[in-house]
């Protein structure tokens, strides 16, 4: 097998687009090495967010990292944003190449 895979965690955060800069800054502070963002819309307890104008747009952030870092980021998010913002996060198991990168 030509590829060496190692387990890591994938943390996905779905939240209001207005948090993009703040969360990106938080992630780098928490020692994250990278993240990926896509634009999203959706629906949840805060109602429908249809992304037809900036105030109703969501983003979807993914962070590949070690379990510890993922839990650390989750704890920070919970503390800083969960009370006041539309936000959903989930953690899953993935296999990666080059584990030292994450």
């Amino acid at each position: 097998m030509g590829v060496q895979l190692s387990p890591r965690k994938l943390l996905t955060i779905i939240c209001e687009a207005s948090l993009e800069e703040a969360i990106a800054a938080d992630l780098l502070q928490s020692g994250g090495h990278g993240y990926t963002i896509t634009d999203a819309r959706g629906s949840g307890t805060h109602g429908r967010r249809d992304a037809i104008w900036p105030a109703s747009a969501n983003i979807r952030i993914e962070i590949l990292c070690a379990e510890e870092a993922a839990l650390d980021i989750l704890a920070r998010l919970q503390e800083s944003y969960y009370a006041n913002f539309g936000m959903v996060s989930f953690l899953s198991d993935v296999l990666v190449l080059r584990p030292e990168k994450f």
């Binding site: 249809d50 037809i52 900036p54």
Partner: protein, 313 residues
């Protein structure tokens, strides 16, 4: 017609949203046109600014800004003390009403143009100056009970916000380049302005339709506030305009500025600066009630007030 035809596009968007049409204006188009409108208004103001001695505006501008500060304080008192809204919500809504709506300003300008009523071109300078102080006041009001505001962060947020950057940037470019330097750009930024505004109003109609549900949450008190506050602020604007000696058109424009509530700069800034405030309330009131009210009833009313008040002397 008693109102500006361009408003019909707003109504079309609103109806399309209400009947749940699949008409969707891409979010990117919303952003692109809002950038266009802000820049164009800035440019227009800058060209006008080049025609007057800037120093002579300092006094009037100071008065306009100081008087405008009454609006968020009063709004906060009414909402928090009378309406029993939470401090954060009252402060955030106060900031929206203390700041200004660029699109309402543009529709008022169209309205006056149709009536051949001229106004002071440097009005855009007031627009810029009125945009941000209320945002800062809102945060002060929200934090009076304590709490930790990262002020450096907030001020950066406000002054580097896209509205301010485009308005001030346009103003400076217009001022530096002057009418001649800008002439090759007139077709885009001046002549197409109204068409773009029509398109934007179509989008705003769709947005407002999608926020109508918020109004139920808002309750009667807030709905009343969203109609009476602009009328009061409009009156204040007419009086202030007469104090600093503006024309009738200028008085109607200042009244519109005072009466309008921000929904581009304020929602973005307040979401970060006062996160515990519920945006459904502030946006529901500012965009769901005050914005359409101003388009259809407010602007003609403020103009009538401006005409009557001048006639009163």
């Amino acid at each position: 017609m008693p109102f500006e035809p361009v408003i019909l596009f707003f109504i079309l968007g609103l109806l399309a949203g209400i009947i749940r049409s699949d008409l969707k204006i891409p979010g990117v188009l919303y952003e692109s046109i809002s950038i266009f409108l802000l820049l164009a208004i800035g440019l227009k103001g800058g060209i006008e600014l080049a025609k007057v001695p800037v120093a002579s505006l300092a006094g009037p501008a100071l008065i306009v800004v100081l008087v405008a500060a009454i609006i968020p304080f009063l709004a906060f008192a009414v909402l928090h003390n009378v309406g029993r809204l939470a401090r954060a919500d009252a402060a955030s809504i106060a900031a929206h009403y203390g700041s200004v709506s660029v699109v309402t300003f543009a529709v008022a300008a169209s309205y006056l143009l149709r009536l051949d009523e001229s106004y002071e071109g440097y009005m855009v300078v007031f627009l810029v100056l009125l945009e941000f102080p209320a945002l800062v006041l809102g945060v002060i009001l929200a934090r009076r009970a304590g709490g930790d505001t990262r002020w450096g962060h907030l001020l950066h947020e406000v002054f580097s916000g896209k509205s301010i950057v485009l308005l001030v940037g346009g103003l400076l470019i217009g001022w530096i380049a002057g009418a001649d330097g800008i002439k090759p750009l007139d077709l885009l930024f001046m002549d197409l302005f109204k068409g773009m505004l029509a398109f934007f109003l179509l989008e705003m109609g769709l947005v407002v339709a999608s926020r109508l549900a918020d109004l139920r949450r808002a309750g009667f008190f807030l709905i009343g506030f969203a109609v009476l506050m602009p009328v009061f602020a409009g009156g204040l604007g007419v009086v202030t305009a007469n104090v600093i000696g503006l024309s009738v058109g200028g008085a109607a424009m200042l009244a519109t500025l005072y009466a309008s509530a921000s929904y581009i700069a304020a929602p973005a800034a307040m979401r970060i600066a006062i996160p515990e405030a519920n945006p459904a309330l502030s946006i529901g009131a500012a965009l769901g009630i005050t914005f359409p009210f101003n388009l259809v009833i407010g602007i003609p009313l403020y103009y009538w007030m401006a005409v009557s008040f001048e006639g009163a002397f």
